[in-house]
């Protein structure tokens, strides 16, 4: 399992920019928002937590099809399926690799981009915490979507259509934590709900993803 994880990480670092792409996309989205809504500081600091969450979510979405696509094309996914590892384990490792290469950099970059959006003082901590809690859920849910569309030729758009509605609860609670944190309100309830969704998704969805992947490899 660890070998698979290391292999995935190495591949994503080496294989032409997949690693930094999500991060660059996150940066561009955050830079574009002030162009869209105007440079007024008060407005920006008000919407900053939500914009950071949406940016992270989209950056996450963008890199999802890389989870299985390459392995599917060169046939190594079939090899993995016949390996002694259970499919659930493979799926979880893939999600973890996706999180380390996409989610974690996003979490670390969020406070820096928060400066650009004049995020309120108290917001930094909560944006980072909510993203750190929420992005694993995004990766796990995204892995499910990627597994659903793995064999399809032009699956990218379809996958967005499938995955985005599934992201709704995570986004709502995550952005709520960040927003309340930035406003200096109590964050316990949404934080607990976010954690619940995140851990629940991590515990249950690998089974669904594995089932889907088995069907697709049939």
């Amino acid at each position: 399992m660890i070998a698979l994880l290391l292999r995935d990480l190495r591949l994503s670092v080496r294989a032409g920019g997949g690693f930094g792409l999500g991060l660059a996309f996150f940066l561009i989205v955050t830079v574009l928002v002030p162009f869209g809504v105007g440079p007024e500081t008060g407005l920006l600091s008000k919407i900053a937590p939500g914009v950071l969450w949406i940016g992270a979510l989209l950056a996450c979405l963008l890199s999802l099809d890389r989870i299985f696509a390459l392995d599917w094309e060169d046939g190594s996914l079939d090899l993995l399926a016949t390996a002694p590892l259970p499919m659930e384990g493979i799926v979880s490792i893939k999600a973890l690799a996706h999180w380390i290469t996409t989610g974690l950099p996003l979490v670390l970059a969020a406070p820096v981009l928060g400066v650009l959006l004049s995020l309120p003082e108290g917001g930094y901590l909560w944006v980072v915490i909510s993203l750190a809690l929420g992005t694993p859920a995004l990766s796990v849910i995204g892995t499910f979507g990627a597994a659903l569309t793995v064999g399809l030729k032009r699956g990218g758009l379809l996958m967005s259509l499938l995955v985005l509605p599934l992201y709704v609860p995570t986004l709502i609670f995550g952005a709520e934590v960040a927003r309340r944190g930035a406003d200096g309100l109590a964050v316990e309830t949404p934080l607990l709900m976010l954690a619940g969704i995140s851990f629940g998704a991590m515990a249950i969805l690998p089974f669904a993803s594995a089932a889907v992947l088995r069907i697709n490899l049939r």
């Binding site: 659903l148 699956g155 379809l158 499938l162 609860p169």
Partner: protein, 242 residues
Amino acid sequence: MSIWEYANPVKFIRTTDRLLPWLSAGAVLCLVFGLVWGFFFTPDDFRQGSTVKIIYLHVPSALMAINAWLMMLVASLIWIVRRHHVSALAARAAAPIGATMTIIALATGAIWGQPMWGTWWAWDPRLTSFLILFLFYLGYMALWSAIDDDDTAADLTSILCLVGSVFALLSRYAVNFWNQGLHQGASLSLDKEENVADVFWYPLLVCIGGFVLLFIALVFLRTQTEIRARRSRALLARERAV
């Protein structure tokens, strides 16, 4: 005699063929009767004026939008557990109907909201969760049409339906938490505290019955179509193979 006999496509088509005329006649009758009754022969509400007449379309379509998804969920479960093809095809047949019902509920809601709340759209929990439900329908239908192999498509969509149900429910509560609404609470709950008045209630009941019958008739018809389309494909494939 058990319900699983109807998992046989031939038997399903034969039975539904017999039932379909009755169901469609019932649906038309109920809808015409209920809507005419509601539209022409009910008084205006003292606060909402004549807009209360929209209820005869809004509430039944909203009900069916949710029930169609539930039916798809049950059909998907049956497909996963017992692998009856009719079940998977029925789930597929129901999705466009559910999506249409969702649009009707949203559209009538918007038209109703405009004079009553002074806005076409508010990010109210009920409205928002219906919009999310609509997105789920879209994704489900898109996945069905994207996959060529029938069995694979049935497997994948039924798992999507299961996962989607969990997340749709989660979204419902998330959205509730996220914003307080303009929308009134349940108007048809069985404990009759703040229900609609009887004058509106009886025609509404007839309309709901009409929508239910319409839904069943359409599901039967569309499932038959799917079964036949599938058989055509199978025959063609066999012909080519010979």
